[in-house]
Symmetry: C2
Subunit: 377 residues, 2 copies
Amino acid sequence: MSQFHFDLQHRDAATGARRGVFVTPHGPVQTPGFMPVGTQGTVKGVTIDQVAATGAHMILGNTYHLALRPGHETVRRLGGLHAMCGWEGPILTDSGGFQVFSLGEINKVTEHAATFRSHIDGRIVELTPEHSIEIQEALGSDVAMVLDHVIALPADPGAVTDAMERSIRWAKRCLEYANSDRQAKFAIVQGGLDETLRAQCARELTSMDFDGYAVGGLSVGEEPSEMYRVTAATTEHLPADHPRYLMGVGRPIDLLENVARGIDLFDCVMPTRNGRNSIAFTDAGPVKLRNAVHREDRRPVEQGCPCIACRHSRGYIRHLFNAGEMLGPILLSIHNLTYYQRLMAETRSAIEADRFEEFRREKIAGWDSAKTPGKAT
Amino acid sequence: MSQFHFDLQHRDAATGARRGVFVTPHGPVQTPGFMPVGTQGTVKGVTIDQVAATGAHMILGNTYHLALRPGHETVRRLGGLHAMCGWEGPILTDSGGFQVFSLGEINKVTEHAATFRSHIDGRIVELTPEHSIEIQEALGSDVAMVLDHVIALPADPGAVTDAMERSIRWAKRCLEYANSDRQAKFAIVQGGLDETLRAQCARELTSMDFDGYAVGGLSVGEEPSEMYRVTAATTEHLPADHPRYLMGVGRPIDLLENVARGIDLFDCVMPTRNGRNSIAFTDAGPVKLRNAVHREDRRPVEQGCPCIACRHSRGYIRHLFNAGEMLGPILLSIHNLTYYQRLMAETRSAIEADRFEEFRREKIAGWDSAKTPGKAT
């Protein structure tokens, strides 16, 4: 792990929360940390300097999307993903496993490869573990994820075991194929909602030489309590000195609950997707700016928020959505990304001060306050 | 003209070009200058700090659009247009005359008012000269335009004369109704393509006490050479010590040709509209970024341009448009607005140095170079 290492700086006294720094060739990532999602080489609606201004340390790119369009060789010829999108910090790329599962119109998995029909032009694409790594090396990300076999939940135990075991074999193939010491490799623990399978998968993957471990196959429709239970049962079997990444999660409360269970890194499209739909995250819960109640409200979306959206009134942002102006989605995407980064920064401070448990309780009470009748906006 | 004045600093030796400063309560506007258009209280796709970063001194808001949505009383209650959109510099609002002409589904003009059906909700709205001023006072712009009677060209001479004479009477009503010394009033010269009518209209309007004069009713489909001819025939009759504004114009070449004919201020949606359609303005003429030729082009849209779009490659911007990402329109809107502001800054320097004629020739030669076969992109 030459150019990468994880410094575990502090463990919370009362929970599994950890404060660390994941060091990469493109700079450090303070953990717990949240990665904005740049699916197609851009965080939707936000310029790269605006992404940096939200406080993000690391962003995520999607192997599946970039391989199909503009093509990973095109990205390579444009100087790699960092040069192309202008991001100077670290980038993590996923492996395509989740998109094959969620987007491919046909998707057939054999021991050799995942085969799917492109959602863009209908052509048949074969993605092997080796090809996924090859694409990620062309993209030039700091962290490559192994190709995993993702399945819908609930599924019968045999199918869950089969996908988990294949994910382990594919992880090994990825590790053997990988050929860049400037790219960390993260394994992905699968095993559905079964704690025994999760433990087995974690043990087998940690016997190989990965730079970090992800919890995959969650946030696919299961109850939050189930997600928290499986996360805890997985992190228990992961080494303390490696970063842990919970893929595709989630709501603010999911971040805090999973930090409490030992997770260091998150990614999710929720801040930008909800922002485009006029929903802002605040300490008093989500606020739907399109609603008429905000029409002449001169208050910002959130008092004290330093983002550029919060220099404006709720009434103005409501008008922008009502009039179909691009600036509405732009501003709320920035606000929400800033909200997530502030939440992670506060989380890190709370862990350092050994008051994470109290912090989590206060935040959840604030988010719940919006559910009081008459307060919903 | 208490809080407003126009300092004519230098006249070009060889052409009608002028270098001046229009001083307003929200700061000075260097002229010749270009105003980005913020139709509905936002320059489309661009945050207000990004607008400022392009070098713009003054922006334009649309009375018609803002009166219909969110409503000028709502804008007033949100603190006025400056506070609402966060623009600290001067704002000019048009009167609604052009939109009644171009957007209203029914539009009927009597001596009393223009009546039209709202393009948003179908309701019938009556716009009198007095009401137009009342709306603009509620918006709180620095410069209010008088309501004018705009007609389609070509039109028969009787109709042109009738609309021109009504525009003069309406200008007088606006001036008499206006009640804010923090808002300059600009008259609009009409008269179609008829130089005699233009001269007559200019003479009558300049006998009243306006703070500036606009040339209206152009850029409605006439040949550029016709536009230039009419501009010259109009500015000839306007006082040198007042700012002159050519409404709704235009392409980069139109800006230079009309500066040469004594115009100080411009506005146009072209930089943002073309940007959203993947067309970038450059010194070598327009470049269509959506074209496949840019697929792996690592050069910026324009070498030496300081805008944030030009930190990226053409290949990246082509990918953004191809993938339907919002960032494509955002970046090219910023590039084009920056291009227009740089063109105006260079124009001002050229006038100061008495080399505007040479500057104009060089620019036009550059724009024409793209028309050479094989060079078009």
